[in-house]
């Protein structure tokens, strides 16, 4: 990896009163990455972002931006700019004055200020609203003002704190594409904080999943989804069926275990295992069949359909297998008739290929 643009080393934040918001976090973020900090509310992701911007100071550890230690650099001297969750667009200034603010206070020449402000407004398509006051604008427009105001500074790193959470669903989709496009055009490293896994998966090139102040896993979206490192990640990213299992034998990569409700099964894994493991299977990897599947090597079990939920493109079928084990199966509704083609109370077989099982150790 080339020299990271942001390097977070052993950073912790303990608030007065002893609350540990961020716990010994290590992250390296490369130039031009679209990096997401993902986690439930209160996991410390926003605190971490604020420490990168300088609005909070780490209790321990070091934050380097562009190879320089930022410990003694106040927020107004850092090469980072932030898009706030509330946008924080100054209400007493016009859109244009908001965007040019960061240039005016740092003594950029009036000519350059005018040119860069115009460019930034152009970039977020707000040129026609330059003279508006923020209270005459919609949430989406205000957010674009906040974006332009930060980008006009040409920061090394753009920080976005839950940028889409206040927008309605349709606008959120548009803005997601817009952000990805912007990031590609301006070539600035983006760090986004979000609690929405879809947002992170669809936009980010890499994601750090955080829980209770600690980083659980740093990986690309597909790695996170297909190879979650912990139960927390498996459960937080997408829907997952988690089955507890007891390890019986473990030789090399091959594991045999006694899974709850499934009986004996064989898996392969690189991980070092303890006595008990979790087996995770994504709902869309499961197949429903009326008869016991004949193909060899499949994991299969029978159960009763407990619930069917229709979502238009897919149906989510919950199957009660033996020993109070419920499995969710996502079925593609690929014909216009019938939906999932199963009814509540129907006897059914669920099967999957063993390779689709994810072995979780913690």
């Amino acid at each position: 990896m080339t020299e990271p643009i942001v390097s977070i080393r052993g950073v912790s934040k303990i608030f007065p009163g002893g609350v540990i918001a961020v716990d010994n976090v290590n992250i390296d973020i490369a130039q031009n990455e679209f990096f997401a900090l993902l986690g439930p509310s209160g996991c410390g992701k926003t605190t971490l972002l604020r420490m990168i911007s300088g609005l909070e100071t780490p209790t321990q550890g070091q934050i380097m931006i562009g190879g320089e230690d930022m410990a003694l650099t106040p927020p107004n001297k850092r090469p980072t700019n932030m898009v706030f969750q509330s946008y924080a667009v100054f209400p007493h200034m016009t859109v244009e004055d908001n965007v040019s603010y960061g240039l005016r206070v740092t003594g950029v020449s009036p000519d350059e200020t005018r040119r860069r402000t115009a460019d930034a407004l152009e970039m977020v398509k707000l040129t026609h609203l330059a003279q508006r006051k923020p209270d005459q604008m919609s949430g989406g427009q205000r957010q674009r003002v906040a974006l332009a105001r930060a980008l006009v500074k040409r920061p090394k790193v753009l920080l976005l704190d839950e940028p889409l959470s206040a927008l309605d669903a349709k606008l959120r989709d548009d803005m997601r594409m817009e952000l990805t496009r912007l990031q590609e055009t301006v070539g600035i490293t983006f760090i986004i904080v979000t609690h929405d896994q879809d947002e992170a998966l669809s936009m980010a090139s890499r994601i750090a999943v955080m829980d209770k102040g600690a980083v659980q896993q740093i990986a690309t979206p597909s790695e996170l989804y297909e190879q979650p490192a912990t139960r927390f990640v498996a459960d937080f990213i997408g829907k997952v069926n988690l089955i507890d299992a007891k390890v019986l034998t473990h030789k090399g990569k091959a594991v045999t275990c006694e899974a709850r409700g499934l009986g004996k099964m064989s898996l392969s894994t690189d991980k070092t295992l303890g006595d008990s493991i979790g087996i995770a299977v994504r709902p869309e990897k499961l197949k429903l069949t009326k008869e016991k599947p004949k193909a060899a090597g499949l994991v299969s079990l029978s159960g009763v359909v407990r619930d069917v939920a229709y979502y238009g493109d897919t149906s989510h079928v919950v199957v009660s297998a033996a020993d109070d084990l419920d499995l969710q199966v996502n079925v593609q509704n690929d014909s216009r008739t019938g939906g999932a083609g199963v009814e509540r109370g129907q006897k059914i077989w669920v099967s999957w290929t063993p390779d689709d099982s994810i072995v979780l150790t913690e």
């Binding site: 300088g54 609005l55 001297k77 700019n81 932030m82 100054f90 960061g102 206070v105 906040a146």
Partner: protein, 282 residues
């Protein structure tokens, strides 16, 4: 079963009840008819000023040529002007301090700061008079040249005006989103730039409202001024009081009308400054 409300019967549909309408008219009549009468009688030709005899502008000319009245008016405006500036700055600083910082006894300080609002004016007048006499300020100040000889009145006015400013500005600051401040710093502004370019403009409506309040309070204060002014210094309300004791003259009406116009114009200008100009269409 709950009683069904007919249209126009809701608690806020006061426009459709005759007795509420009447009350509305009566209240406004009692508020404004005396003022309108004063203005009308300032154009009256009658010397006694109680019966309408005809239109004239003589009273204004007389008021203008009455040097004692003009002197009182100048004093009042000067005192109000200085007291407003000082109490606005002081009040704004106190509001900022109460909003921004935590310090020991903050609660009690906040309560004590408001005391001048609730203490009876007469008590404050006596207390200030006592204070000025005991410290020797009274004697020292009233022998100074104008406008320094007004200092004791200005001090007294600031003492009861600044809490109003502080309260108005403080309530404005409650709505301030700290992220504005953070955004400003994040965009490269220093603490001072943030203060002048973000916090002060945000406080501005509160500052203007507080300053207006202070100006009008100071301009028409009688009781405290009466106690704290030296024998030679006369302000407009004190002058009017002494003249009225010898009967209402149309000159006073004229001077009062001018004062009303000044305050109304000041208020309108201040309101204009506060409302942002609507730009663009739709």
């Amino acid at each position: 079963m709950a009683a069904q409300l007919k249209p126009g019967q809701g608690p806020l549909d006061y426009g459709s009840r005759w007795w509420l309408k009447t009350l509305f008219v009566v209240i406004y009549a009692l508020l404004y008819i005396p003022i309108l009468t004063l203005i009308a009688f300032s154009f009256n030709t009658d010397r006694r000023g109680v019966v309408w005899r005809g239109f004239t502008l003589d009273n204004y000319a007389k008021a203008w040529n009455n040097s004692a009245l003009i002197e009182a008016m100048t004093n009042s405006l000067m005192i109000a002007f200085i007291a407003t500036i000082i109490s606005t700055i002081l009040g704004a600083m106190i509001a900022l301090m109460l909003w921004r910082f935590r310090f020991p006894f903050k609660g009690s300080y906040e309560a004590f700061m408001g005391l001048p609002i609730v203490i009876p004016e007469i008590c404050m007048g006596v207390a200030l008079l006592l204070f000025f006499n005991v410290t020797g300020m009274m004697g020292a100040i009233i022998s100074m040249p104008w406008p320094i000889n007004l200092a004791n009145i200005v001090i007294a006015h600031v003492a009861f005006c600044f809490p109003f400013v502080a309260i108005v500005v403080r309530s404005r600051l409650v709505g301030f989103n700290r992220q504005f401040e953070e955004a400003s710093k994040d965009l490269g502004a220093s603490e001072w730039q943030t203060f002048w370019k973000v916090i002060v403009p945000y406080m501005m409506p509160g500052l203007v409202a507080g300053a207006l309040l202070a100006f009008t309070l100071s301009l028409d204060d009688f009781v405290i001024t009466f106690f704290t002014s030296g024998p030679e210094t006369v302000t407009f309300p004190v002058k009017v009081y002494s003249l009225v004791r010898r009967g209402v003259s149309p000159e006073i009406n004229a001077a009062s009308t001018v004062l009303i116009v000044i305050t109304v114009v000041a208020t309108v200008i201040a309101m204009r400054l506060q409302t942002p100009a609507k730009s663009g269409k739709g």
